[in-house]
């Protein structure tokens, strides 16, 4: 691309002259970036850097052309949003502030999205719970927002450790839910989340969840393109829902009074409204499929013993698959990338050879297991085992998965299965 074209394509329309605290003539670094489509970005030459998940998220945000970021610090999310603060200082994020708590955060970022700008927030377990009242209203308000969620224990006893039960609370809100496995996913997926959530026939918020500490505070290899590139800005004018003019705010947000009354019309309206939200979730699948290279990844597709997992449990399962391979056993793995949209047909197809299915999870509730059982009911003859599960922040040793497989093979288990 010639420099002229690059300039023409860049959105450096804002002239930041005499920004307080910056030298005269300071130009935000984001204005100097070159815009490429996400497809183009995915094909650019990449450099591999050994970095933490928080740093990977920072590099993703740097390339994401974010207009507005609002967050309230909570462990283990704090480090990422501290890094986002540096990006704001350098001019990669146009506006950024620390809210006063999570209800405020999640309400405010919704306002940003309604105004038509690309909006980012991030939180963790208890903060997510506090903000859920506002979060649950996002999908129906059709607000594209990317929320990074660094999972953390929410139940008692209190802990700051990773545990992803909180994801179960997001599954029925109507928002898009991705569950990243590692640092590379945590770089790649926020960019995908922005683009998909802003598609006209989607127009929904998207969370990119990741298991806290295990990914955010640990280092892994991340391949990324040069920081001189960014994805295109959000096109507020082509929103499915008209952007709000914050200079002249509407007297009331809801345009139809009946929706706020409990009467027959409002029930109809609510039903069609929600039907449309969940249809939009399904419509997002084609975009995720394109950018993620499939909603699921399958290792050893013809194996009779399969592991179905998401997030950090996938990494543990990969190691279990490898160690079984060293012993001469073939174990399969299905990595579920998007929990919403739920890849129902893909999982049915990928699990059709399975006789035994394990669903390892980093939580007590087994939300993935429930969805797997619902999906495979009547479609598979496999015995589906609810685990292994670890929670409260405990890690999942590969040995635990290997033990379960061994016990099942030797019929040495009284574990319930479905």
């Amino acid at each position: 691309m010639s420099p002229q074209t690059a300039e023409a394509k860049s959105n450096s329309t804002s002239k930041h002259v005499n920004v307080p605290g910056k030298p005269e003539g300071w130009v935000p670094a984001g204005d100097l970036q070159e815009i490429v489509t996400l497809e183009e970005m995915q094909k650019l030459p990449k450099e591999t850097i050994f970095m933490t998940g928080s740093e990977a998220a920072r590099e993703s945000i740097r390339r994401a052309n974010v207009d507005m970021a609002i967050a309230y610090p909570i462990t283990p999310q704090s480090e990422t949003m501290q890094q986002a603060g540096y990006l704001f200082d350098e001019g990669y994020i146009k506006d950024y502030y620390r809210a006063e708590e999570e209800i405020g955060t999640m309400s405010a970022i919704s306002g940003a999205s309604r105004a038509g700008v690309r909006s980012l927030t991030a939180t963790s377990g208890p903060g997510l719970m506090r903000g859920t009242e506002a979060i649950a209203s996002w999908p129906g308000a059709r607000t594209p927002i990317v929320m990074l969620n660094m999972c953390r224990v929410i139940n008692t006893p209190l802990a700051i450790q990773p545990d992803n039960t909180e994801i179960s609370f997001l599954l029925n809100t109507g928002m898009l839910v991705m569950h990243a496995e590692n640092q590379q996913d945590f770089f790649d997926w926020p960019l995908i989340a922005f683009i998909v959530s802003e598609e006209v026939d989607v127009t929904l918020p998207c969370t990119v969840s990741v298991d806290g500490f295990f990914v955010t505070h640990a280092r892994g290899n991340v391949a990324m393109c040069d920081k001189k590139y960014k994805i295109p800005p959000r096109d507020g004018w082509r929103n499915a829902v008209p952007s709000m003019d914050n200079e002249n705010p509407p007297a009331r947000i809801s345009r139809d009074a009946p929706i706020q009354k409990s009467n027959f019309i409002s029930y109809h309206m609510h039903a069609s409204w929600q039907q449309e939200v969940f249809s939009a979730v399904e419509r997002s699948a084609k975009y995720f499929d394109k950018y993620l290279g499939g909603l699921i990844e399958v290792v050893n597709p013809d194996a009779e013993e399969m592991i179905i997992a998401s997030g950090a449990a996938v990494s543990q399962a990969r190691e279990a698959v490898r160690q079984e391979e060293e012993k001469g056993n073939k174990v399969g793995l299905i990595k579920v990338k998007t929990i919403r949209p739920w890849p129902r047909e893909q999982i049915i197809a990928a699990a059709k050879h399975a006789k035994v299915i394990l669903v390892p999870e980093f939580n007590q509730t087994g939300w993935l297991h429930k969805d797997v059982c619902t999906t495979l009911y009547g479609k598979s003859t496999a015995s589906i085992y609810p685990g292994p599960r670890v929670f409260g922040g405990m890690t999942m040793p590969t040995e635990l998965i290997l033990d379960w497989l061994k016990d099942i093979r030797e019929k040495n288990t009284s574990r319930n299965h479905f």
């Binding site: 700051i160 590692n182 500490f213 990914v215 505070h217 640990a218 990494s315 543990q316 990969r318 190691e319």
Partner: protein, 245 residues
């Protein structure tokens, strides 16, 4: 040891640089062309509180993440991890795989209880006592270099990373890429930097400590066949020669 992958659990006390040591070891392995990942255990970040950090090392790609429950190497940075039970993992060898190695920072053998001795014996554990703090005091003139000593010792035991890569990792830590472990560590940095007028001096002291414990392990016959000494002056010059501070 015939193992292709090492899972290392480091245990010590807050302020000893356990987490920093894990970053340096891990980064050293990556510099040497291997694969590594690490995760610290996040408890209370304060002086003398128990600290654990976990490092995975492999010649091949690593998938597994999270804390290491079943290590094949454990490193004890302070005797009171064992004698006073200052540890998240009790007893200290819990989960150590059969034929595993335990490197302890001590000049004199730890008086294990009968149960501890039995626990080590039935598991065929090799215990290597390396006086890292003594060596740090002697070579670097500060016990703050204990963690460097532990890095040198473990690199010799495992035969990876090589001394030059490990030195490169220490250099990354203090100069250039600047691996930041936590806010508390940054504060300690400024304290230690005052002690050493120039970063180059600090780096040199650390390099010489690394070298001394690496050599100690080899001299004791505990070194991996792949562990090779390099010229000490060359190692120091490589790390410090280009530093103009």
């Amino acid at each position: 040891m015939g193992v292709k992958r090492y899972n290392v659990r480091m245990a010590g006390l807050g302020g000893q640089g356990v987490v920093t040591a894990s970053h340096i070891l891990s980064n050293g392995v990556v510099i040497s062309g291997g694969h590594s990942s690490l995760v610290p255990f996040f408890g209370s970040e304060k002086r003398n509180a128990p600290v654990e950090s976990y490092v995975r090392i492999s010649a091949d790609v690593i998938y597994e993440i999270g804390e290491i429950i079943y290590p094949n190497i454990i490193m004890i940075f302070h005797p009171s991890v064992i004698t006073l039970g200052k540890s998240y993992t009790m007893p200290f060898y819990t989960g150590l795989k059969e034929g595993g190695v335990c490197v302890i920072n001590t000049g004199t053998p730890i008086p294990f209880t009968a149960d501890e001795q039995k626990g080590l014996d039935v598991n065929d554990t090799k215990v290597y006592n390396v006086p890292c703090t003594e060596i740090a005091n002697k070579v670097a003139k500060t016990d703050l270099a204990t963690n460097m000593g532990m890095c040198g010792a473990i690199a010799a035991v495992l035969g990876m990373p090589d001394l030059v890569s490990l030195g490169g990792s220490v250099k990354d830590r203090f100069i250039g890429k600047g691996i930041v472990v936590s806010g508390g560590t940054a504060a300690l940095d400024s304290a230690i930097e005052k002690k050493f007028a120039k970063k180059a001096k600090l780096l040199e002291a650390n390099m010489r400590t690394l070298y001394a414990t690496y050599k100690y392990v080899i001299d004791k016959g505990w070194g991996h066949p792949d562990a090779n000494l390099v010229d000490e002056e060359e190692l120091v010059a490589n790390a410090c020669g280009t530093v103009n501070v």
